[in-house]
């Protein structure tokens, strides 16, 4: 249940506006919208990605789905107000690769803990396992967050999704959007298999996203 009806109404308006601006055409392939707990994961090429993905879920699914967004971008002023109040975003510090300096809040274990806490027992998450926005041409290798999340929550339903053309609407480094018609394809649910190792799982998850890209 949403505690603030006003924020809920505003969320509906934002979702409708996002669908209109992005002209998004949503397709579910061997899969259907379901309000049960899940982790939606997709390719990442634009700041608009989570807004569009979240807006494309039916209202009852949207009400229990929270995007995971980078603290360094979304934790400021108006952005933060929108991210936290409207999208109920889970703001986490980005996972930084081995050997790179970690600031106090950049501990990946802390980010996982935040996500698990946010999931509770009925909330779904939207996750971009590439960690950072790409150019939209290639899907980069997945960071390990998705794997550790599943280790802590075995049996989580993972729903792959591919976002087309968001990199053309608002590419990395631009602040004004250009309207293109975008497409969002959801694929069939998958899960971490018993005893599956990290590398194999992450590459299988990435393949699930890439397969949706090739469906066009």
């Amino acid at each position: 249940m949403r505690a603030r009806p006003l924020a809920g109404m505003f969320a509906g308006v934002i979702a409708a506006a996002a669908r209109m601006v992005s002209g998004v055409q949503v397709r579910w392939v061997d899969s259907e919208p379901d309000p049960r707990q899940a982790v939606y994961f997709a390719n990442h090429s634009s700041h608009l990605d989570f807004v569009v993905l979240w807006s494309s879920l039916p209202a009852e699914v949207r009400a229990v789905t929270r995007p995971v967004a980078a603290q360094d971008y979304w934790n400021r002023g108006l952005r933060r107000a929108i991210a936290v109040n409207v999208f109920r975003a889970v703001l986490v510090a980005r996972h930084v690769g081995k050997g790179e300096a970690l600031d106090a809040s950049g501990d990946p274990r802390l980010a996982i803990e935040h996500m698990l806490e946010a999931m509770g027992d009925n909330q779904s998450l939207i996750l971009f396992p590439e960690g950072t926005r790409g150019t939209g041409e290639e899907v980069a290798a997945f960071k390990s967050g998705l794997y550790y999340l599943c280790r802590h929550r075995p049996g989580s339903r993972l729903i792959p999704a591919y976002l087309h053309n968001l990199n053309r609407i608002l590419p990395k480094g631009e602040f004004l959007p250009v309207p293109f018609i975008s497409k969002l394809t959801f694929g069939p649910a998958m899960a971490l298999a018993a005893g599956e190792d990290k590398r194999a799982f992450l590459s299988r998850a990435r393949d699930a996203v890439c397969r949706l890209k090739d469906l066009g």
Binding site: G23, Q25, R168, E174, L176, V178, P179, F180
Partner: protein, 314 residues
């Protein structure tokens, strides 16, 4: 609300009457025809008729509101058409700012110029200023890969989706002696052009055998083309009373509209076939995208405008 021109009311009532008859025929076919292979076509026909109701009501309302209504409607249609167009074509990262200019500076400006009746600038904004601006902005962006392809793709999109389409509401700029500035002229163009599309489709479905351009547009047949052009021209002639034309001029003008509309449909289909898609979009149920519906208008409107302006505006 100001007093409406009774002829405009007549013409709009005629459109609604035609839709009512089409709806009844569609219903009759749905109930009467049991053949399964025909049912997909009938379902599509009924979806199209449903969409026609929505489009006609929106267009009718904007006509009644006046110039601002038509400018907003066609301005939005230009933006949506341009969006369908650029989505289909390859663009590169370096095109972003140029595209932003095309959507949010040139398109609104073009319709604004119509609003203030500045014909001289309306006529050259895109073919002169935007034409030179687009490649310059792309050169500044610094990516030379397929430079000319990218520049001409954007120029062409602006010309067809914005410049050509804007000629429809631009008809409201024309002050014709003894006729004035009238929404009837715009309604006349839209009715003849769109009826020509519809009638070509209907004749094609009923009698179509010989394909005109099987590679470009597999659904276009000689039977559909000739039947559609003749019947739409006939209707355009019969509607001479709502135009500044004498009946025989109305016949020639309608014939021109239908032929240009056909050229538009064919040309825009060639782009779709090149890009390997059936439709430009999915916005209008049964029809495809905005550009699938407006392709004939994009070609008919500028020619119609200039014929009227050359012969009737002193």
């Amino acid at each position: 609300m100001k007093n409406l021109d009774p002829q405009l009311v007549w013409a709009l009532s005629g459109v609604l009457g035609l839709l009512a008859i089409s709806t009844l025929i569609g219903l009759g076919l749905k109930i009467g025809v049991k053949k399964t292979e025909a049912q997909a076509t009938i379902r599509n026909l009924n979806a199209r008729i449903g969409a026609w109701w929505v489009m006609s009501v929106i267009f009718g309302l904007t006509l009644v509101i006046g110039q601002i209504g038509s400018l907003v409607l066609f301005g939005i249609m230009s933006l949506l058409a341009l969006r369908e167009y650029v989505t289909l074509l390859p663009t590169r990262r370096a095109d972003h700012r140029t595209l932003f200019w095309s959507f949010f500076i040139f398109t609104p400006l073009q319709y604004f110029l119509i609003g203030i009746h500045w014909y001289g600038m309306f006529a050259i904004l895109i073919p002169v200023y935007a034409f030179l601006f687009v490649p310059t902005r792309l050169a500044i962006a610094g990516d030379t890969e397929s430079f000319l392809d990218r520049a001409s793709t954007i120029q062409w999109g602006l010309m067809v989706c914005v410049y050509c389409l804007s000629y429809t509401p631009a008809l409201l700029m024309l002050n014709i002696p003894g006729y004035g500035r009238s929404a009837k002229l715009m309604l006349y163009l839209v009715v003849v052009d769109q009826l020509s599309d519809v009638l070509q489709y209907v004749w094609g479905k009923l009698l179509g055998r010989h394909k005109i351009a099987p590679v470009v547009s597999p659904n276009k047949t000689w039977e559909g083309f000739i039947g559609g052009v003749l019947t739409a021209t006939l209707i355009g002639t019969a509607l001479w009373w709502m135009t500044p034309f004498r009946p025989w001029v109305a016949a020639l003008v309608s014939l021109t509209i239908t032929l240009m509309g056909f050229a538009g449909g064919l040309t825009m289909s060639a782009i779709k076939r090149d890009r390997g898609v059936k439709d430009y979009g999915t916005m209008i149920k049964g029809h495809g995208g905005i550009l699938d519906r407006m392709d004939s208008m994009c070609f008919a409107a500028p020619i119609f405008f200039h014929i009227v302006r050359y012969f009737y505006v002193k």
